[in-house]
Symmetry: C2
Subunit: 467 residues, 2 copies
């Protein structure tokens, strides 16, 4: 974008919004040029801070008028470069749109603006005895979580972000404001736009209000740590737990290297073996039976030690440690950047995939931990990379490649929960085949000038054009 | 379509398939000109019976070549005229594509052809200790159930049809075959096509293979009937059960008139009062606690009598009676046709909606029962209409109109599970507003000549054209 064109856009935006809501300040632009990933930063030309859907609509119309790309931005906690403005343009920061609009306890629903974070929402919901279930590692914004179809440790019981979405207020490329759903628990009316916009990573529109499902805080919760001689034993135990029909609420694998990192960072003294962090929600008597059955199963799979977290404080410490794991690695390797793999496979293929990942870590001589939402067949290898060491960067890329190929060859996906962004773009053709053409047609129908977060999910140039 | 054009299409189809797979026989065409609803029949010009996805692809290419509409057909159990070929053309009957392809017990998945019925699938799954959860009243085909995003009595626990879909093999308008998903439990890769094609009622493509989620048959099941002095009491009891966090597996409301019809048809002697049919799945000890808590709650809401079905036979009789309710009405009113309303509302608005429906039945002086999947906020009024009595037909239409308006004004949907078809077309603009433009753009992008089940969900003429 030429400087003159840029000045025109700024003038237009400041006339439509207020001067304080539009900035080209270098520091602000730099904060919006990257996310928490290792992907190379690029700066937006302009950052805007809307306060209403109508203002977002004006920004979209400006984008159309000047053919300038727009990228929505929550808190920048994405892990595949989603918010990096690949072609510059306008970044829309939603931090002024951060109100919990309405809690509807009888309907188990909440209406929020997109800039609300999950911890902010849970703090509000607690007053009503409710909680929001999806818990990615970062304290992300809910708008961002819908954009990437985020999930987390409780997904095995409560589902992914898409399962929580009842309605989205979306501003489309042309500035039109639409509602994608309603407040009913189910509907067979019209084409299913909630699902389509969830996970669309800002490529089809910007969210300005979200109606999400919430749950009652379970009356009884039990948590446990079970350590195993090998990762295989742990994964096989999980498969058995699922097959036994135990309605487990969380089951997280943390490998030996990761437990060590947790202990170091969180000042815990968890047994340094491959470990499952488990949680059960239910009524008192049902829980006892579930826990006893689980204990029997893990013992049959070689579990040497199972410890129960009976207190709320103990349970909170356990999950905080798990959530802080990525930061534990980042702090443990100063100067390095983290690459996180994110494949998800059919559960029958999981043990093999984790073993394959561990072997490849060793073959390539890399440091890293393996953790995973194993109840969903989703695991992450966390690699710490010196971005100035080309050999290390190349090895990490090679590792990621092998992990993804292993998953795709077995009916899995290149990303279980982090999304495509920049990092998984190159696998879209292989994973989706001709279905990518359907996605491209939808993108072209809704964003014909390719101005909404361009080059995320779909990259026109890879096929010559969108279509 | 002129006779000559029709002959050309038939010649082309028989050259692409075999002669036995293509028919213009009047009896066969009549069987494909209606569904189980009261909507006016129209005949297809040709009925074809493909055996493979490749053959479906050839049919789609023929449809494109001769600009002749295509309508997919399972068993014709739809309730809003979905399979009625509004513009004639080719009806694709999937009854030859009725194989259970593969059961994957470890992954809790099954691959089936679209013509498999839910009872056929459950018979096969039982061998593995598994079951398929979605149970609409009819023994529909799974392809049809995906097409309408069907649901049923277990949705409150296991979700709707869309929640079960992992992958669809879809033949598009141009004959291209795509896979919309994969076998992993979750994915954030690409735009979410599973959700978009589920519920698309044949307007975006035809399904030729479905990968669906299945569940372990619960080890312990408890069922109960609880009768109440008023429908309001029953609905309010359900809200309390949900708020108490009891993970109920089924909770069906059957009003007094409907219990009477059930008793008459199924030779049961259930207490003739508004009744909840309840079911609980879980472990032995947990169930006991859930059941005891539920008993306390329903008693607090005026339940005068609660009866437990302890035997498998008793439970099966209970659910068979509930499933046969529509047929019970049809048999009870020979010569009449059934109209079923299908709104779904936020649960907090349900008691009011059911009371409103009952009042309007009385004001309009109509016979009918009210039943509902009340845990989801979805209820049906079943009306028996003499289609030759214009006054009765007009009253039924007026009743449906009032029910829908009541729901739409309160954040609900015009159809919770039956789909749009012909019957709910007129509410799409009101329900979806500008979002309908998004749906139309998607339809136009994927079916530019409007040949796939035309005039279902979206009717171009109502806006002048599809965009």
């Amino acid at each position: 974008m030429t400087q003159q064109a840029s000045i025109q856009v700024i003038q237009h935006l400041t006339s439509e919004l207020t001067e304080e809501q539009v900035t080209v300040n270098d520091t602000v632009r730099e904060l919006h040029g990257r996310d928490e990933s290792y992907h190379t930063e690029k700066l937006p030309d302009i950052v805007v801070f809307p306060k209403t859907a109508e203002e977002v609509s004006k920004i979209m119309k400006t984008s159309q008028k000047f053919k300038m790309p727009v990228v929505p931005f929550g808190l920048g906690t994405s892990l595949e470069g989603h918010v990096i403005p690949d072609k510059g343009g306008i970044t829309i920061d939603f931090s002024f749109m951060n109100k919990v609009i309405e809690v509807l306890p009888e309907d188990f629903l909440v209406k929020v603006q997109p800039g609300v974070t999950r911890s902010q929402l849970n703090k509000e919901l607690k007053k009503y005895g409710l909680f929001f279930s999806v818990d990615p590692g970062a304290d992300a914004t809910l708008g961002g979580m819908v954009a990437t179809n985020a999930s987390g440790t409780t997904t095995v019981k409560y589902g992914v972000m898409r399962d929580q979405v009842r309605n989205l207020e979306v501003v489309l490329a042309d500035g039109m404001i639409v509602q994608t759903g309603n407040m009913a628990a189910k509907s067979s009316s019209g084409l299913h736009l909630n699902g389509l916009f969830t996970g669309s990573e800002g490529t089809l529109g910007c969210f300005t209000e979200l109606t999400l499902r919430v749950y009652g805080i379970p009356e009884h919760v039990a948590a446990a740590r079970a350590s195993f001689p090998t990762v295989d034993n742990a994964v096989e135990a999980v498969v058995s737990i699922l097959q036994a029909g135990i309605p487990i609420a969380r089951v997280e694998l943390v490998d030996e290297a990761s437990v060590r990192q947790v202990n170091h960072f969180s000042e815990t003294d968890y047994h340094e073996q491959p470990t499952l962090f488990l949680e059960f929600h239910g009524n008192e008597e049902g829980l006892k039976q579930d826990v006893a059955f689980t204990e029997e199963i893990v013992t049959n799979h070689g579990c040497g030690q199972i410890d129960f977290e009976t207190s709320t404080a103990g349970r909170n410490r356990l999950w905080e440690a798990r959530h802080n794991l990525a930061y534990a690695f980042i702090h443990g390797y100063p100067g390095k950047k983290m690459m996180v793999t994110d494949v998800c496979l059919p559960i029958s293929k999981l043990a093999g995939a984790v073993a394959h990942a561990r072997e490849n870590l060793e073959t390539l001589g890399m440091d890293g931990g393996i953790v995973g939402h194993v109840g969903d067949g989703n695991f992450h290898a966390l690699l710490m990379i010196d971005m100035n060491d080309p050999e290390e960067v190349a090895k990490a890329a090679e590792f990621n490649e092998r992990i993804v190929q292993y998953a795709l060859e077995r009916g899995g996906t290149c990303t279980g929960e982090h999304g495509v962004g920049v990092g998984k773009l190159k696998y879209q053709q292989q994973e989706h085949g001709n279905a990518l053409i359907v996605m491209e047609k939808i993108k072209q129908a809704l964003d014909p000038d390719n101005l909404l977060n361009p080059n995320k999910i779909l990259k026109p140039t890879e096929r010559g054009a969108v279509l």
